[in-house]
């Protein structure tokens, strides 16, 4: 007996729609949307497993179904495992989103530090080039040129997290300098 191996088009389309909309949600900033996206994708993958298991058949119990009529039980077992894993992960991410909301009032995935630092440096660079355009005098240039020794007094008053590097001290100094 030839085994029917071509998958149902409806299943394939469902996988496409689920994974596609999941990817869209995954690209969002809000963690709760991200977790919905991940759930959609993993449901899509679960369907993919069912497709991989071939055509539907009878329950794979010896004695109840003829061997060539049986459904492949392995993908079902794997889907079950994947669902359980996804449940646990979803619970964890939701808890994390809630904690983020408690702390910040939102559940958005924030920029990483390096990105923030580069953005800040770019902004500063833009300022500098604008300053060059109008022509700077020696005093402003001298004020901008600093070395590490001059930073020391500012460190005592600066309030910042432990993870900020030299760039951030500079930026902070500049911010203060501009506001006064």
């Amino acid at each position: 007996m030839g085994v029917e191996m071509s998958p149902s088009l409806a299943l394939v389309l469902a996988v496409g729609v689920l994974v596609g909309s999941g990817v869209y949600l995954l690209l969002e900033r809000s963690l709760s949307r991200v977790i919905i996206g991940i759930t959609l994708i993993s449901n899509g993958v679960n369907l993919l497993f069912l497709i991989a298991g071939g055509a539907a058949g009878g329950p794979p119990l010896v004695g109840t179904t003829e061997p060539d009529q049986m459904a492949d039980p392995l993908p079902q077992a794997m889907v079950l495992t994947a669902i359980v894993i996804n449940l646990g992960i979803t619970a964890f991410v939701l808890a994390m989103a809630y904690r983020s909301w408690q702390l910040h009032g939102h559940d958005e995935v924030q920029d990483d530090l390096e990105d923030r630092r580069i953005a800040r440096r770019a902004a500063r660079h833009e300022e500098d080039s604008r300053a060059d355009d109008v022509g700077t005098d020696l005093a402003t240039e001298a004020a901008e040129a600093r070395d590490e020794t001059e930073e020391e007094h500012s460190l005592e008053t600066a309030h910042h997290g432990p993870r900020l590097g030299a760039d951030d001290h500079e930026a902070e100094q500049r911010d203060r300098g501009e506001s006064t």
Binding site: I51, V93, M96, R163, L164
Partner: protein, 512 residues
């Protein structure tokens, strides 16, 4: 002796349950964890002897042999990884216990720490011993779920921020892995690695390449290979020092292990070796360029971690016995040295009150022993002869020269440049944190002996690897030869009768 194979997974899981049940008694939890991980270490050392002398060890779960049942396999590579990971896990555990003691009841690790840590150990061991792609996925998920909890321990704003990125990226890699498993199953009808190795050659070459790309993408995110590495330096440094240390040492190497396994067992035709090698070179360069630019010692170390993953991938992409052997040696060296360095950075933070190189200083005067441990580990990382880092790099570069293709020669040059830049980065950290005068007086703090001890021992292990480099290299040579021959693995997993001694109650309708 095959019953040994399952123990590295079973012991930590059982201990995790016990530790969770005894959540109110943190001392008992500590004892349970130490005993469990010591037992795992002993079992792993036993396994290394058995696999080296007898051959790969296979447990058929439930008595059913491989294509029917699930196989748990330990070969030379797995056994070595188990030993190294057990040493590191035990060392870091002792460090965190001492940290808890030193900080008093307030600083003691929260009740969930020990169970989660043991689950992480079980997940790592499961990934190393799984003979089945889906079990590998489950192993990954176990260690990832545990790592999510450990990374966001305490739930401070900074950890939640970093954790969100880490969790989303890890989940993405798991989904890619799961999709490729589904496709592989659809194409071949099996997920057993040994059987896949037999069947995958029959597939269309284009389909093979697609499957290989999908799997590599999933693993490359976990192993932090450029351009999929940006998440690592951002998320690791925010965790507590022992957690960062064990993540840096082990988790990325699980990805590297999975790449070694699939590249040697499933995709042997070398279609993507060039791509992999390019990725390796870029990983080295981009990683080390990031490290040079850092002003924070933990972030600096995270970037060197990314960069040195490139060395291992370079060795794998050479697709030769010597390259693979050197890559495995390098994995063993790098796990210990990177963990030791992160533990030292935890101690630096404790003594100096900060990890920012701008504000640290004069540590060589106030904590000379710490300076020695940092200096030795840092030189080991940079690859100064005669330490193990030098031997690992020398092996890789030799393999690159032996390969002789232009790209491999470029790889050798990049490897040398990366070593030099690593030296520059760690010397900069040394100068700023230990040599220079501190910009402001350091806080009054001391380094507890209990935390310094495990750190020093791990650093010493990194150095001792150099002393046993001869035997270790002949071991990794044998491991690499086994992996590339495939046969010891496949023939010990797939036995001839194909069913094992499993019995079903009613088998009349069955396998005819």
């Amino acid at each position: 002796m095959t019953w040994l194979v399952a123990l590295p997974v079973v012991i930590p899981l059982v201990a995790a349950g016990l530790a969770l049940a005894l959540a109110k008694h943190s001392r008992v939890q500590g004892v349970i964890s130490v005993v469990a991980l010591t037992a795992v270490l002993i079992v792993a050392v036993a396994l290394i002897f058995v696999t080296h002398t007898v051959g790969p060890q296979v447990v058929n779960v439930g008595g059913w042999a491989a294509p029917v049942g699930i196989a748990v396999v330990t070969d030379r590579l797995s056994a070595l990884m188990l030993v190294v990971s057990a040493v590191v896990l035990l060392g870091v555990l002792l460090y965190s216990l001492a940290q808890g003691l030193a900080d008093g009841p307030k600083g003691a690790p929260v009740a969930i720490y020990h169970p989660t840590y043991l689950v992480l150990a079980a997940g790592v061991a499961m990934a190393f011993t799984s003979g089945d792609l889906f079990n590998l996925y489950v192993g990954f998920e176990i260690l990832l779920a545990a790592s999510f909890v450990l990374l966001t321990l305490g739930g401070t704003g900074e950890r939640i921020r970093a954790g969100a990125i880490y969790v989303v990226v890890s989940l993405l890699s798991s989904l890619l892995f799961l999709i490729s498993i589904a496709l592989l199953y659809g194409a071949t009808g099996t997920l057993n690695l040994a059987q896949l190795a037999d069947r995958i050659d029959a597939l269309d070459p284009g389909l093979q390449t697609v499957l290989q790309i999908m799997l590599l993408m999933g693993f490359a995110i976990k192993a932090a290979i450029f351009p999929l590495s940006a998440w690592l330096p951002d998320s690791y440094p925010t965790a507590p020092a022992p957690v960062t240390a064990v993540f840096a040492g082990l988790l990325t190497k699980v990805g590297v292990y999975a790449i070694i396994r699939t590249q040697t067992l499933l995709f042997t035709d070398g279609t993507l070796d060039t791509v992999l090698m390019l990725a390796a070179l870029l990983t080295m360069l981009v990683g080390i360029a990031g490290a040079v630019a850092q002003e924070d010692i933990k972030r600096l170390l995270s970037f060197t971690l990314v960069s040195h993953i490139g060395f291992m991938i370079f060795g794998i992409s050479l697709a030769s016995d010597v390259g693979l052997s050197a890559a495995i040696f390098y994995v063993a060296h790098h796990i210990t040295v990177q963990t030791a360095l992160f533990l030292v950075s935890g101690l630096i933070e404790r003594r100096g009150g900060t990890t920012s190189l701008v504000r640290l200083g004069s540590l060589a005067k106030v904590a000379p022993a710490l300076g020695v441990v940092f200096f030795v580990s840092a030189m080991n990382l940079a690859g100064i002869p005669p330490m193990s880092g030098f031997l690992g790099k020398a092996g890789l570069l030799q393999a690159g020269l032996a390969d002789g293709t232009p790209l491999a020669l470029v790889g050798v040059a990049v490897g040398l440049a990366t070593s030099l830049l690593t030296l520059y980065a760690v010397v900069k950290a040394w100068n700023k944190a230990f040599w220079q005068e501190a910009p402001e007086p350091l806080p009054e703090a001391s380094v507890p002996r209990g935390m310094f001890g495990p750190t020093a021992v791990l650093a010493a292990v990194g150095v001792v690897i150099a002393l046993v480099a001869g035997p270790l290299y002949s071991y990794t040579d044998a491991a690499a030869r086994d992996l590339r021959l495939q046969d010891p693995y496949i023939s010990s997993v797939l036995v001839d009768d194909g069913r094992g001694e499993g019995q079903s109650a009613d088998a009349q309708g069955g396998d005819s």
